[in-house]
């Protein structure tokens, strides 16, 4: 299946995404008819209480947890139509999506450099080229001096920077981050959020960050708020059921 990416298209577009777990009496609607767009270079925060469906939405557009219904388009390429994949999901993730999680999830037997390098080698980038770019990314994120260190010897902030470098390795058009600052202090947390903003603007990638950290919301271009599986309408926004809220600088 051939994927055609459009560089001017929105980074991600979700249309009426619904996710239902279980059946009959045990049926739980985790996400209901969620629609939104994230442009390239835009940093969006996804906030809401626990159980609101944020992670469900993130994993759905990250192509690791297919929706029950709805459509997902990434960089102009339709990728999901309901639970049916329209492309090879693993190959699409490899090329166009970067992930960062609450835990850095670095591979413990690879050093920082190799953790970034492996993401590119998986994507068929030649070893020497991958190594060069990995070093550049680590340098860009300020952890080049720890490139030979194993994850267990890095601090939480350093690990998260390496994870961000890994997410950026293949120049993805979409970066998804699930509470990336939860394990960091507020200072480090803010640094990571600013890092996302910098990356989004410089690399022209759409970034969606699930966060509970309201102190750093001013970093984001927009805030999407979820509650009970739906996106809440903005206070002064359109009357549609799923709405978007402009970020208010702190």
């Amino acid at each position: 299946m051939r994927t055609i990416i459009q560089s001017d298209a929105p980074s991600v577009e979700a249309q009426l995404l619904t996710k239902i777990y279980g059946r009959g009496n045990t049926e739980v609607v985790a996400m209901r008819e969620v629609s939104f767009q994230v442009q390239r270079g835009e940093v969006v925060a996804l906030v809401g209480p626990s159980g609101a469906g944020k992670s469900t939405l993130l994993t759905a557009i990250g192509l690791i947890n297919p929706p029950t219904s709805g459509k997902i388009t990434i960089s102009g390429c339709p990728v999901m139509d309901g639970p049916r994949p329209l492309v090879s999901l693993r190959a699409f993730r490899r090329k166009y999506i970067g992930f960062v999680f609450q835990k850095a999830n670095l591979i413990p037997f690879l050093n920082a450099l190799e953790n970034v390098q492996v993401a590119m080698e998986i994507n068929d980038v030649r070893s020497r080229k991958a190594r060069k770019r990995a070093l550049e990314l680590l340098d860009y994120l300020g952890v080049a001096d720890r490139s030979r260190s194993l994850p267990s010897t890095l601090s939480g902030g350093q690990q998260q920077r390496v994870a961000v470098a890994r997410a950026l390795a293949n120049n993805p058009s979409l970066i998804l981050a699930d509470e990336p600052t939860a394990a960091l202090d507020s200072h480090r947390g803010r640094q990571v959020m600013e890092l996302f903003r910098m990356v989004a603007h410089e690399q022209k990638a759409g970034v969606i960050v699930v966060t509970h950290d309201h102190r750093a919301l001013d970093v984001f271009d927009r805030i999407l708020e979820m509650e009970d599986g739906v996106l809440r309408p903005p206070p002064n926004g359109p009357s549609s059921r799923n709405a978007e809220t402009r970020a208010q600088p702190a």
Binding site: S55, T59, I64, N65, R90, A91, F92, R93, R94, K95, F99, F101, N105, I107, P108, F109, L110, E114, Q117, V118, A119, E121, I122, N123, S127, L150, R166, D178
Partner: protein, 402 residues
């Protein structure tokens, strides 16, 4: 980037310990094959050195390698008289156990037709061949005897004049070579009192017969050594080994000798077959034990690889999330399995080379056995990694969130 190597490097000591464990198991598997090979080689070593074309044994028996065979020694002369026979040699072989320097000395007493056969065909590693008709012996080094040792056997003392290597019987006992008369003397050694009683009994039996009364010389001889009695003089040997003259068909000679009513003739191959059949049970026993060990090794390797894979499930989920192909993950597990197998095999070989010489019986490691075990290890490595691969394939990338 080779993920398998990097993972191993990360947990090197544990990997090496695991490989050492696998190596010890494989060493036992290797040893089993070596013990069997040693058993066969020990059994056949003497048979192959004799290079006899035919074996003449007691009628109705299957020869000295299967059961007791007794034929008169002078049959050697009868066989010589057959047209086409180039060489005929008596074969005497029996196992004895004696005390020597306060330790048990168990050996296979083997007779040589001296002076035609002085032991020069044997693999001597020290000393010389038999130089006289009596009271000299060649001993295999496994017997622990040294040159010039004087070993009392029966009523005589034998001096070790030569040391051989690799001459052990199917039961693992070392060979000792004597002249035929000496080996018979050792085999039929009887205490002095028993001889005296037998001589008296002979005289008593003769006195009751007319022959004894009419032939006083017989009464006189009956009191002497049995070998001086014409009727009893011929001694028994186990078999006669025959070599046909150049250009003669052994089957033709065998056909002539088979016509005699007191002997049976076997070609050398038949004796070889009989010898191998005598160790068949041991072979099966070792074979079954070896099979069990291979299965156990496979199960242990599968469990180790499965555990190693379980420990990496989170990392595998992350690799899948990043879009790694199944081939990358299969290669990670399979390469580790192969490396574990290869390292285990190498260790088994090295430890075996060091340990096997200390075994009481010969452990003969042949290239064929090594190749066979290498293929077994390869198969085990692949099969045992399947469980881990199946588990790794079943992990979903969204498990990274759990």
């Amino acid at each position: 980037m080779n993920l398998a190597i990097r993972d191993i490097r990360h947990k090197l000591s544990r990997f090496l310990l695991t490989a050492a464990g696998i190596g010890l198991l494989l060493m036992i598997v290797m040893g089993m094959a070596g013990i069997y090979q040693g058993l066969s080689e020990d059994a056949l070593s003497f048979l192959e050195r004799t290079k006899a074309d035919l074996w003449v044994v007691q009628r109705g028996t299957r020869g000295p390698f299967a059961e007791i065979s007794r034929i008169p020694w002078n049959l050697e002369d009868r066989v010589y008289a057959v047209t086409g026979v180039g060489k005929a040699r008596a074969f005497v072989s029996h196992t004895i156990q004696r005390e020597y320097q306060s330790r048990p000395l168990r050996m296979v007493v083997q007779g040589l037709t001296w002076p035609q056969d002085d032991g020069s065909v044997l693999p001597l590693i020290g000393g010389r061949v038999l130089g006289q008709a009596h009271y000299e012996m060649l001993a295999d080094r496994t017997l622990g005897l040294r040159l010039a040792d004087r070993v009392p056997l029966g009523k005589d003392i034998y001096t070790v004049v030569g040391i051989t290597a690799g001459m052990t019987g199917p039961s693992g006992d070392g060979f000792a070579f004597f002249t035929i008369p000496d080996s018979i003397a050792i085999q039929y050694d009887t205490p002095g009192e028993a001889i005296r009683l037998e001589r008296e009994a002979r005289r008593s039996r003769l006195r009751k017969q007319d022959l004894g009364n009419t032939q006083p010389i017989l009464l006189e001889r009956a009191a002497g050594p049995a070998s001086q009695l014409p009727a009893l003089g011929t001694q028994n040997v186990s078999a006669i080994m025959v070599n046909v003259a150049p250009g003669v068909d052994p089957a033709r000679v065998a056909k002539v000798i088979s016509g005699w009513s007191d002997v049976t003739v076997y070609p050398n191959d038949a004796q070889r077959e009989l010898m191998l059949r005598s160790i068949e049970r041991n072979r099966k026993q070792l074979g079954m034990f070896r099979t069990l060990l291979v299965i156990i090794s496979a199960i242990i390797m599968a469990l180790i690889l499965y555990t190693l894979t379980l420990e990496k499930m989170h990392d595998i989920a992350m690799l899948k999330l990043m879009g790694a192909r199944n081939g990358t993950i299969v290669a990670l597990i399979l390469q580790q399995a192969m490396l574990l197998g290869a390292l285990g095999y190498g260790l088994a070989y090295c430890i075996g080379l060091w340990v096997f010489p200390f075994f009481p019986r010969r452990v003969a490691i042949t290239n064929a056995n090594l190749m066979q075990l290498a293929l077994i290890v390869l198969a085990i490595s692949v099969l045992s990694s399947l469980l881990g691969i199946w588990k790794a394939m079943s992990v979903q990338p969204n498990e990274i969130l759990s």
